[in-house]
């Protein structure tokens, strides 16, 4: 029994290898389309995480300026603001400091506060926010706190970045699903065509008494191997493109920290590639078995 099993596995593996070897350009067609599509898929995922990271970073440099009521001091509100969600940092600017800076800026010699009837400014706080999408909401929250006169958060820029991020999320999702669907379509088609080109072989094997399972296994192994190779090439391409893009980034967007191409992406691609290869083969060989 064990002897029989090893003999058969030997045959099945050999047959899969021979199939790959003799398949010639058909295999290359399958591998290259798989590569192209997995590459696009990976690129899409990578670009979307990249953009996400970049936008998050841009967003994190956004801040809310909080102007307090004349008699309220910044120090008093600082802990409260710090405790709000999504707040990264809070910086207090007492009105004295602000006034000094203003006077310096205007080039005024000596203290003019007396002629103005005291320091005309108020205490302010600078609140750094974690994500651009929450800026507007947080600003509103702060506005409603006691002692706050008004808030200013460069609303337009923040909102734009936030909605850009949302829109990009949508675009990435749409693109990823379209790519996913095309990958499935192309790979099923290609493997179906590989099976088609070997239909005679399947027919003959059936006629001479090979069980359906025995006929299917080499094809499934082949599909797996094709998926593996496709993923490998796509991964290689991604790394190459990644380093190219990184170069461009350093040239054009030096203020963005790179988001390295990471292993989980590779695993997603590997799963997609080999899964599609195996499932495609199974479906294709099953339909060929039915037809005869």
């Amino acid at each position: 029994m064990i002897r029989r099993f090893t003999t058969q596995s030997d045959y099945l593996l050999r047959e899969a290898l021979i199939g790959l070897w003799r398949g010639g350009w058909m295999n290359w067609a399958a591998i290259s389309t798989l590569t192209a599509l997995l590459f696009l898929l990976g690129l899409g995922l990578q670009v979307s995480t990249q953009l996400d990271g970049a936008l998050a970073k841009l967003g994190s440099q956004l801040e809310i300026s909080v102007y307090l009521q004349p008699k309220v001091r910044a120090i008093a509100l600082e802990p409260k603001l710090r405790s709000l969600p999504d707040v990264l940092q809070v910086q207090s600017i007492p009105k004295e400091v602000a006034w000094e800076a203003l006077q310096k800026e205007l080039g005024v010699q000596g203290d003019i506060s007396e002629s103005l009837g005291g320091n005309p400014l108020v205490d302010t706080l600078r609140v750094q926010v974690a994500r651009p999408t929450v800026v507007a909401h947080l600003a509103q929250q702060i506005q409603s706190l006691q002692g706050v006169e008004s808030v200013n958060y460069g609303s337009e820029a923040a909102e734009r970045l936030g909605s850009l991020q949302k829109a990009l999320g949508w675009a990435a999702l749409t693109l990823a699903s379209i790519l996913g669907i095309s990958t499935v379509a192309v790979i099923t088609t290609t493997i179906r065509l590989i099976v088609l080109s070997r239909r005679k072989e399947i027919e003959v094997l059936q006629l001479v008494g090979a069980t359906p399972l025995r006929i299917a296994i080499p094809f499934v192994l082949e599909g797996f191997a094709l998926g593996l190779l496709g993923t490998g090439f796509a991964w290689g391409l991604l790394l190459v493109t990644g380093s190219f893009v990184e170069q461009k980034r350093q040239e054009f967007l030096p203020f963005l920290a790179p988001e390295p191409i990471h292993l989980p992406l590779g695993l997603i691609l590997l799963g997609t590639g080999t899964g599609l290869g195996v499932i495609g083969s199974l479906l294709a060989v099953r339909s060929a078995l039915r037809e005869n």
């Binding site: 002897r3 029989r4 003999t7 058969q8 030997d10 045959y11 003799r22 070997r198 005679k200 072989e201 027919e203 003959v204 094997l205 059936q206 006629l207 001479v208 008494g209 090979a210 069980t211 359906p212 399972l213 025995r214």
Partner: protein, 233 residues
């Protein structure tokens, strides 16, 4: 198995009231009754399009009868599919009228598929192929691909593949159609020898000369209807 080369009364295969109407309305077989005994050497004759190949297809389960029952080696073939049909087919050898060779595999590999499907190990496979090819006169062609062979050579590969695993039932559809007299004679000698060793052989054939020389039992099919020419012994 009863005495070498003679039919026993053990049944190898039987068709009971079998009719076959193809999807396009053509009539392949019309209420055919036939019992094939172990050890038979049966010739099936009949005009082109009479239904000879259809009869064999019933036996190896490539076509299902429209009505009636087909039984082979104790198994009802009618509704057999998948692994079960495969297991039945391993216990027979078939020479197809259109050869059915795998295009991208060498002669050797084409014959090996049968043995591999049955789980023979590699040494055994190698041991069997050479003598079988020798037998059909193709010893020098083992590395050729089917498209590099002449018509008759392809036919002989198909014959070699049908006998290499020594099946108890051999179905041969026009095995000598593309062979010259000498080769045809040789092939039928081989079939006769197998029959002597206890193999049940069913052959369709046009060649009256060959039938006269070799037949122990002959049936004729005419437009789907079967008639026994030589009574079964």
């Amino acid at each position: 198995m009863v005495g070498l080369g003679s039919s026993s009364h053990e049944v190898m295969a039987s068709l009971v009231d079998v009719s076959k109407i193809y999807a396009n309305g053509s009539c392949g077989l019309d209420r055919v009754n036939l019992t094939i005994y172990k050890g038979d050497f049966l010739f099936v004759t009949g005009a082109s399009g009479a239904g000879k190949s259809t009869l064999l297809k019933m036996l190896y389960g490539a076509e299902k009868p429209t009505t009636g029952t087909v039984e082979v080696q104790g198994t009802i073939v009618n509704s057999l599919t998948g692994a079960k049909l495969a297991h039945l087919r391993r216990r027979m050898g078939v020479v197809f009228q259109d050869y059915q060779l795998i295009p991208k595999r060498t002669v050797e590999e084409n014959i090996a598929v049968v043995l591999k499907a049955q789980g023979f190990d590699r040494a055994e496979v190698r041991k069997r192929i050479a003598p079988t090819l020798q037998m059909v006169g193709l010893a020098s062609k083992e590395k050729c691909f089917p498209e590099e062979l002449s018509g008759g050579e392809q036919q002989r590969v198909s014959i070699a593949r049908a006998i290499v695993h020594e099946p108890p039932l051999l179905l041969a559809d026009e095995p000598t159609g593309n062979l010259d007299v000498h080769n045809a004679w040789m092939i039928l000698q081989i079939l006769k020898k197998l029959n002597h060793l206890g193999v049940t052989v069913v052959v369709t054939c046009h060649n009256e000369q060959l039938i006269k020389t070799f037949a122990k039992r002959v049936v004729r099919v005419e437009a789907g209807i079967m008639r026994e020419l030589t009574p079964a012994l």
